[in-house]
Symmetry: C2
Subunit: 473 residues, 2 copies
């Protein structure tokens, strides 16, 4: 994206470390006050002093779509509106542009890089985005249409086609000259070298270009094995490669190895941010769909995303309940057993959650490969066993002392050890199995593991208690 | 860091999209086989073809410290060893360098950028790192010593002092000339401009430098309001700024606004990765300390980090148990009540976990400001209420049908509504309160909220049941 460079050339009034969250709160407060007072002149001056990224963030925190539209209209000059748009959340863009005529939007996004244009258009209904595309210059809209055809969240969908490439026999001098004359040099971290059929043959850094004699041909100085991705590579895979090899940009090639675009590190930063959020939401059973923003989306959408998992869990916990009901005679005989039902259930869930979080995160960051599984499993189960011994002894002591009943203590302690080892084993292996079958492992931590652990823990505990019932009374 | 550029100039044999996890598994397998066979020659050829980042990753997955040392020694040329070191985890560095004489380490890290040198030294005992510093060239060790003095996880501790700065009256032509002659140009994304007392006065991009007439003075073209951080700014705050403003590097200034270093985007990518992992571990009660790697650290360390929270939770769940014990007469009278104890407890925990995850993540990414709290709270409680109505009706129906007892159904349904609303409210507000008092909100999701929700849920349910006990039988 061009954003990197665009940012850099615009006068920017934010000053350093003082720009913290608390300072942003003050800005939000003032904007709110000015809006209520209708002090449009002051508001306009204030907005004009803000960085587009801050304006976008501020719009996000306003209360109504109407306020968002009012403030958006105050952004001057017109070109800055496009910059702000490219920084806005998709939901905010939708709300802000609802009433803006298609022709105005086409004009507004005219100077944005193609990936940002595509980003803005994906926020709109199909029909409206088609209308805007028809109103754009044909050479601009062609590129954007190409980008819109790729599957969301693939390299093709997030790349920009605005990169800098040259032929092998170009001299360093000519390359620098081309660079100086180009208007799209925002993305130039690397110079990509292609053959006459657009096939990617090598890469070199801007620094190398500056440091060789002027007549050196690019072909003699390029690195020929380029780390690249295909158009259908998943965006998280792209992010991993850029992070692992500390790249500033990664080229995207089609099936014939022809260069079709690049993805820059600033977009990768966003992907990593979003991926982590997504994993955490999934672990808490909030099904995350594309571009979700559950903090501000309509209530009904939030419900739709959160309820399915809760209902699954409701059923799972009823199974636990039915196991208790199944053992009701044991419970009635020795009511002291109820004291440790929440203890066994909670500890199984907690120990399991720790193990599955470690495994899920390890798989996500590449710290665990599938070939490490046996090692990781043995290690987690060993730790689970040691933890279970410790918790078992504490629970044994608590139960024995509280109810002055050593047998009860032994039942609680032994059940704790079994329950925790089983739950650690399940919690460790479940994300790996899901991953192997192509399911996102993050969904495992919540529904499956927690519910399964509740059920097995309670079943182990009460079976054991029933077996020794005569001695318990 | 220089890593960005260093990477770029080394011949690199990894080819594009085929470099996925499964391919890496194959590499790991071969290395293991060659090690067991003692085929050192083959191993050396294989390692020499790999990217330093891949070698570091491969070392991480080897089984013993001995294997790590063997493979590390095979890295040729010597300079590549340093590159691999700078990519390795701190634990792996410790294991690999244990037996290497201090003088050899001083030699080994000689050509690394200062922040990477500091990184390697922090993996060692104080005494040993002091010895290595004494063996380094005084001009090198002075910079590293400075870096080592900053608090860990602050801008000062992660910055590099190798940046490119010039005076205001330098011409564009002279600047380019200086750039071409400099050996430390790996970090040059921006040219920083200082006054004669090293105070940071402005910034310009490499692109601008290339596109103005040769005799233009830097002072006439710089952007004077620079987004910068202080040496004691928290690294996550640094990451937020770099991400929000799409920067490639951010300057670090001291109290007098003198430029002392820069932090580049590749390090920010690592920080974001680590911060997300840390939040997830904290949420699952795995206290995360500096540079933790719980998947591979000694078992005893894992226990130390995981056990405190589990014991807290053990006590919390015993409180739940004691509440059950307190209501034992009610339970004995109407044993059907046990069926819904796990249901109420689990649902309170789950609904709460969803809300607190959203809030914790929102606070971490800046999607929520403290001034939004009232709005977010009302929204979450509204959603919690709607969810509780839904779950309440399902639970009411299940209880009434299963035990053919409408009163029991009503008790379960009403208790569910109260329990879920209370747990949503607590789960939403707790991270905010913790954040306001400077405690990391991620610790809230696990211990406090889950345990508190269990306790209140069970207490509400059984109090209600006891109140209407006469009608329940």
């Amino acid at each position: 994206m061009d954003r990197l460079d665009a940012r850099n050339e615009r006068p920017d009034k934010g000053a350093g470390a003082t720009r913290t969250a608390s300072r942003f709160d003050v800005i939000l407060d003032s904007v709110g006050r000015l809006l209520r007072r209708g002090a449009i002149g002051n508001l306009e001056r204030m907005v004009s002093k803000m960085h587009p990224a801050d304006v976008a963030k501020m719009l996000h925190h306003l209360n109504s779509a109407q306020e968002k539209r009012t403030v958006f209209e105050l952004i001057k000059p017109e070109g800055n509106k496009a910059q702000v748009l490219s920084e806005m959340d998709q939901g905010d863009i939708g709300e802000t542009l609802t009433d803006v005529p298609a022709a105005d939007i086409a004009m507004l996004i005219r100077d944005l890089p193609d990936d940002d244009q595509a980003y803005v258009l994906t926020t709109m209904p199909e029909e409206r985005s088609q209308e805007i595309l028809r109103l754009m210059k044909p050479e601009d809209s062609a590129e954007v249409k190409d980008l819109l055809q790729y599957e969301p969240k693939t390299a093709g969908a997030i790349m920009t086609t605005e990169y800098f490439s040259l032929l092998e026999d170009t001299t360093a001098e000519a390359a620098i000259h081309r660079l100086q004359g180009s208007k799209d040099t925002g993305n130039v971290f690397y110079v990509y070298v292609t053959d006459s059929t657009e096939k990617l043959v090598g890469v070199l850094s801007l620094r190398q270009l500056l440091q060789v004699p002027p007549h050196t041909r690019l072909g003699t100085m390029i690195k020929r094995e380029v780390i690249s991705v295909a158009t259908d590579t998943d965006q998280e895979e792209v992010a991993k490669l850029v992070a692992r090899y500390n790249l500033l940009a990664i080229p995207v090639v089609d099936r014939d190895n022809a260069l079709v675009g690049i993805i820059t590190v600033d977009d990768v930063v966003d992907i990593i941010h979003d991926a982590a959020t997504e994993d955490m939401l999934k672990m808490s059973g909030t099904k995350s769909e594309e571009e979700e923003d559950l903090l501000h989306s309509p209530v009904i959408k939030s419900l739709r995303l959160r309820v399915p998992w809760l209902l699954t869990n409701l059923i799972g916990s009823m199974v636990s309940g039915m196991i208790l009901w199944f053992f009701r005679h044991t419970i009635q005989e020795v009511v002291a057993l109820v004291t440790f039902i929440p203890v066994i259930a909670a500890m199984g869930g907690n120990v399991g959650l720790q193990s599955s979080t470690l495994v899920i995160r390890g798989l996500a960051t590449g710290q665990i490969e599938l070939s490490d599984v046996r090692k990781v499993f043995l290690r987690q189960v060993t730790i689970g066993f040691l933890i279970s011994m410790l918790c078992g002894v504490v629970a044994l002591a608590a139960a024995a002392i509280m109810h002055i009943n050593l047998t009860l203590g032994l039942v609680v302690g032994i059940a704790m050890v079994f329950a925790l080892v089983v739950s650690t084993a399940m919690a460790t292996i479940m994300p790996v199995i899901l991953k192997r079958y192509g399911v996102d492992p993050a969904v495992a931590a919540g529904p499956f593991v927690t519910t399964a652990n509740d059920i097995t823990g309670i079943a182990i505990y009460l079976s054991l208690a029933t077996a020794v019932l005569a001695h318990l009374q």
